[in-house]
């Protein structure tokens, strides 16, 4: 099948972005990561036959495990290695995530998301309390730090007080693994920078490419940080 793919481009160091369209013939069921790889060829041209520079994008695992390739495909934030071209219309767009500064083409600088974790004390104070019933901690550990959740969140803007789900999810593991005394500072970060800012619209839930049950994370973290309930009685779903 033939596609017209319009990509929002940005030269490194420039202050201007522009759209460029490429013609692409699909071999079947490939994902957008493979599509980008194939568009990038020596002497590549755009749909009008004009010479084009290779499209820069970030990837690593190519199997939904590292969060590197998050971008906005046909208006929806997702992982390029997760999105099949067969699920896209004949004409569609690829754009970088919008809540972070663009570095080049589809590459954005997500440092702020990771710096936020540091300023919110997202680490374990003391030793973890291991328990057999650790499924929630496991689920909270799979967060990819991809930033897709921030893209759709109506309440998140970079630099604001509300830190978003990419901070809330890793916090869940730590809150569950510390006792109330150890987790005091993290709990207050949670209340101030997550609980008080989150509108609970759960727009982020359906977008998370790791399939994290955001609802469950919030319920568990709230139980510990807001209602100060003992870890071993926290909510299971």
């Amino acid at each position: 099948m033939d596609y017209e793919i319009t990509i929002l481009r940005h030269k490194k160091g420039s202050d201007r972005s522009y759209y460029q369209t490429f013609a692409y013939t699909s071999e079947g069921n490939e994902n957008i990561a493979a599509v980008l790889d194939r568009i990038n060829r020596p002497s590549m041209t755009d749909i009008g036959g004009e010479p084009a520079e290779p499209v820069r994008w970030e990837c690593s695992c190519l199997q939904k495990k590292c969060g590197a390739c998050a971008m906005v495909i046909n208006g929806i934030p997702c992982l390029a290695c997760d999105r099949k071209i067969s699920d896209c219309p004949a004409k569609f767009t690829i754009e970088p995530l919008r809540k972070f500064p663009v570095v080049e083409d589809l590459i954005v600088d997500r440092s702020s998301m990771m710096d936020e974790l540091r300023s919110l004390n997202v680490w374990l104070s003391g030793e973890a309390r291991s328990s057999d019933d650790n499924m929630t901690c496991y689920e909270a550990s799979v967060c990819l730090q991809c930033g897709c959740c921030l893209e759709v969140c109506p309440n998140f803007c970079a630099g604001g007080e509300f830190a978003g789900m990419s901070a809330a999810v890793p916090m869940t593991r730590l809150l569950l693994e510390m006792d109330n005394k150890q987790g005091k500072e993290l709990a207050s970060s949670y209340v101030r920078n997550i609980f008080e800012g989150c509108g609970k619209s759960l727009a982020c839930r359906d977008i998370c490419p790791a399939g994290i049950d955001i609802d469950k994370m919030l319920i568990n973290s709230n139980a510990v940080a807001v209602w100060r309930r003992n870890k071993h009685k926290v909510v299971k779903k």
Binding site: C66, A68, W123, L124, Y138
Partner: protein, 525 residues
Amino acid sequence: MDRINIAGAGIAGLSAAIALAEKGIPSLLISVQPSERAQSVMAEGGINACLDTMGEHDTVEEHFRDTMKGGVFIADEDAVRSLTSHAPEMIDFLERIGVPFNRENGHVIQRNFGGQKKKRTAFARSSTGKIIMSALIDEVRRYEAAGLVRRLCHHNVTGIDIRRTDSGLSCEGLWLCDTYTDRMYYSRGHVIAAWGGMNGLFPGHTTGTAANTGRLTADVFLRGVTLSDLEFIQYHPTTVDIGSKRLLLTEAARGEGGKLFIERDRKPWYFMEELYPESGSLSPRDVVSREMYRVCQRDDCKPPVYLDMRMIDKPTWESKLSDLRSWIIYHLGTDPVKEPVAVSPGIHFFMGGIDVDKRHRTDAVGLYAAGECACQYHGANRLGGNSLLGALWGGRQAAYTAAEETGECENGEPAAVGESEGFDVTAYDAGAAEMCGILVSGLGIVRDEQTMRSALDRLDGFADAHRDDPLHAGAVLGQAMLLSALARRESRGAHSRSDHPQRDDERFGRRTYCRYKDGKIQIQI
């Protein structure tokens, strides 16, 4: 105390940073992408340690023996002893930093993995690497906040400053490039290499990330550092081609009962169970990959080989292999609960790399190496579950040695040294694909003199044609791999030769060393 440079922030780099910080030693943790993107997050199956939680009377001695035997007796015995005896301590450390391993009755539970007779592999459902990495990253963050670790993500290390002195090689620092601004810096001080395996030489053919380019391994080689055991490349038996890469179907699938078969006389033949009654489909990876290759060559068999997982029960799928099932459905459109899956071996792990001693020193003073970029612990074939362990323990060991050997001078901030010139990415990728074609033609699962010679001839031509561009260093590293494989005129572990099918302990029962001197590659076994 001097700050130590750590190049790479996967499990080995993070482990080194934590070990240094525990001793109050600052480090600069440099990686081209944040740790969340490192190959270590892809490990699924688990990490080995004798915890003896499964009622099988497992011992450290057996872990030691299985590792030596799996590596066909060329790994350093003392190093393997140290690794296996500290393994339980490493799991204990991971538990303390909150890794949610699968547990029952207050204990971490363990599963079977290839080449080991007892259940010795601790795991976190089917994302062990990711879950361990999340906890290590959180732990490093604590030290970052305390000013002991400085993380420089999106910084590409472009070269290691190794100088020849009268007393030998000496590592003085490294060059790095901020990939967001293209600005280059030089950071003085000792270096722990933790930049992962050489996947970049085999784009599209490995289960790992091509972001581990192998370029730094080539760089230090050209600067005189010894590499070893480059011919030992592990082909994982159960991978599938998904276009851009090879997708691994974890060994845990066989650990939990999955079996391989090929069609023979219109009937499925579970060849591993018949040929190796004791270990069956869960034999070491080199053995399984080789047998898969052989049955596919037989006239009475019809390729491909299938992985049959239909016998795995529902609770096991749900509690231990849930990701695996969803991967297969997503990528291949078949449900492994109902249908067998066609598989073939793919490049998965590099046993060889930078030669290190028991304490992770290289032959350049001030350069240490750990994790998959280093050659230690795994001999001729790595056992599943031993590389996360090797990277975790190795990173720690490298840090301890570096801590002892680092002096008391201030090395200050990385200094700006201009801008990177960049290079033509599409031309590089096209060249890398061509080089990969040459390398895989010579370094397949079963090798012989003639195919390796002809690959080497072509690679020599390729290296000459790329003498002045960024592909050259990789081509020299490829030549070193082929020359190592040619020199080892026997079959051992992952190195299997049809023209020398026997193991020859007398002539080859040791490591292969590889050095670059005066523009020439020298091999010594």
